[in-house]
């Protein structure tokens, strides 16, 4: 027993190397996120999230002090409501209570991103990714797959994406530890951040059902735990929607003031429509760089290219994702994730 590595309080050489590897990566992301901290000092954000957190503190469900003609809000009965989940505002309530409405939510964005680094690293360890492969995958996730460009944006919308990733990564970690009640609770909270994340529940349900080693009663018990965890946050969300708009399923999105004539035009055919598919397919898979300053300029100027306003093809920005097509279907995680992603992509294309 004395010779067992677990009996010693001294870290093994491998553990020390791994700890240094994690610290190096953590510091790299910390440095890349520093401009977010600088923006906190120099930018005053009239954040919709904070206005809603102020509302929560005063027992309202509307964003306090937001003008009725503010885009992306729902003007109703003389108040501005947000067509977003309440989670990030709920997280901000203690800070707004302590620091007032001047609290800058980008602190939260920064802190959650650093937490995401740790959560993703833990997930890689659980999925038995080691050595250089761990660093490559973490760098690809945070820098190459557009996490940081989103996290370094300074708006309500960016913070919601970061919080949604935090909850999803935490749920994936806990699923590896078979903590299904907590997984359900975190997924429910994620839906309170971003409604479309309800789709993620499918992955965890299939993960349980595809585990052939489990007897049927154990599968049922795990599904019930998942459902029980999900129930509380979902009921809260239904109540939140009902109290604001009179329907548990009305998020307010279709009622919100569009941000542009383009956004208004895209809503004419409904939020989801087959008509949106060619456009979304083009931007998701085919669109490339745009010329700088304009396509019609006779001579381009430095840096000659720019990112187009509606984004570039995922095949161009993240070609390494093409490796997913080589995934083995016998792996139960792959079989659970694939239908979830396919349904998610179909939803995105028709949105």
């Amino acid at each position: 027993m004395l010779n067992s590595p677990t009996a010693s309080t001294e870290p093994t050489p491998d553990a020390a190397i791994e700890r240094r590897q994690f610290l190096r990566f953590f510091v790299l992301i910390f440095l890349l996120m520093l401009p977010v901290l600088l923006s906190i000092v120099f930018v005053n954000i009239n954040n919709l999230d904070v206005a809603l957190a102020s509302g929560f503190l005063h027992d309202h469900l509307y964003a306090e002090g937001i003008a009725l003609n503010t885009i992306d809000t729902v003007p109703l009965n003389g108040h501005s409501y947000l067509p977003l989940g309440p989670l990030t505002s709920a997280l901000e309530v203690p800070f707004v209570a302590l620091l007032g409405a001047d609290f800058n939510p980008m602190w939260l964005d920064f802190a959650l991103t650093m937490l995401n680094v740790w959560l993703f690293w833990r997930l890689l360890i659980r999925l038995r990714v080691a050595g250089a492969a761990r660093t490559w995958l973490a760098a690809f996730f945070f820098i190459g797959a557009l996490y940081l460009p989103q996290a370094a944006g300074i708006s309500t919308w960016n913070l919601i994406q970061v919080a949604a990733i935090t909850l999803t990564l935490a749920a994936l970690n806990l699923a590896e530890h078979e903590q299904w009640l907590w997984v359900g609770l975190l997924l429910g909270c994620a839906v309170n951040a971003r409604f479309s994340l309800i789709l993620n529940v499918l992955y965890f349900v299939l993960l349980i059902l595809f585990n052939q080693e489990l007897p049927h009663p154990t599968q049922v018990r795990r599904l019930m735990l998942l459902g029980a965890g999900l129930l509380g946050p979902m009921l809260l969300l239904f109540w939140y929607n009902y109290a604001r708009f009179g329907s548990p399923l009305e998020t307010g999105y279709i009622l919100s003031l569009p941000g542009s004539a383009y956004a208004l035009a895209t809503r004419q055919g409904g939020l989801f429509s087959l008509d949106h598919i060619p456009t979304n397919f083009y931007y998701m898979f085919l669109n490339g760089f745009a010329a700088y300053p304009t396509e019609s300029a006779t001579a381009l100027q430095f840096p000659w290219i720019r990112r187009p306003a509606r984004g570039m093809s995922i095949l161009l920005t993240s070609p390494a994702l093409l490796y997913v097509f080589a995934a083995p279907l016998r792996d139960r995680r792959v079989r659970a994730a694939l239908p979830t992603i396919i349904i998610g992509i179909l939803g995105l294309l028709s949105y």
Partner: protein, 77 residues
């Protein structure tokens, strides 16, 4: 996106001839090159498109949403 990475890890293990319950220690060279392209484009996208970096480089956010108002940026003045 985390689910895509779950599939990606399984694919890389398959590529490297590693079972699901065995550790993946290295990734193929082609993957490294493709990931490097993504990382460079990600950094470029961050410099060009993220509000916090726009402030640092241009002195003002050029594509910020309506709920952000710039008060003052001393480094650009």
């Amino acid at each position: 996106m985390p689910l895509l990475f779950i599939i990606l890890i399984a694919a890389l293990k398959q590529n490297q001839g590693v079972d699901a319950d065995q550790p993946l220690i290295s990734v193929p060279t082609l993957f490294k090159w493709m990931a490097l392209i993504s990382i460079i484009l990600g950094l470029w996208g961050m410099l060009w498109f993220s509000g916090a970096y726009q402030l640092l480089i241009f002195g003002h956010p050029i594509a910020l949403p309506n709920d952000v108002s710039v008060q003052f940026w001393p480094l650009a003045s």
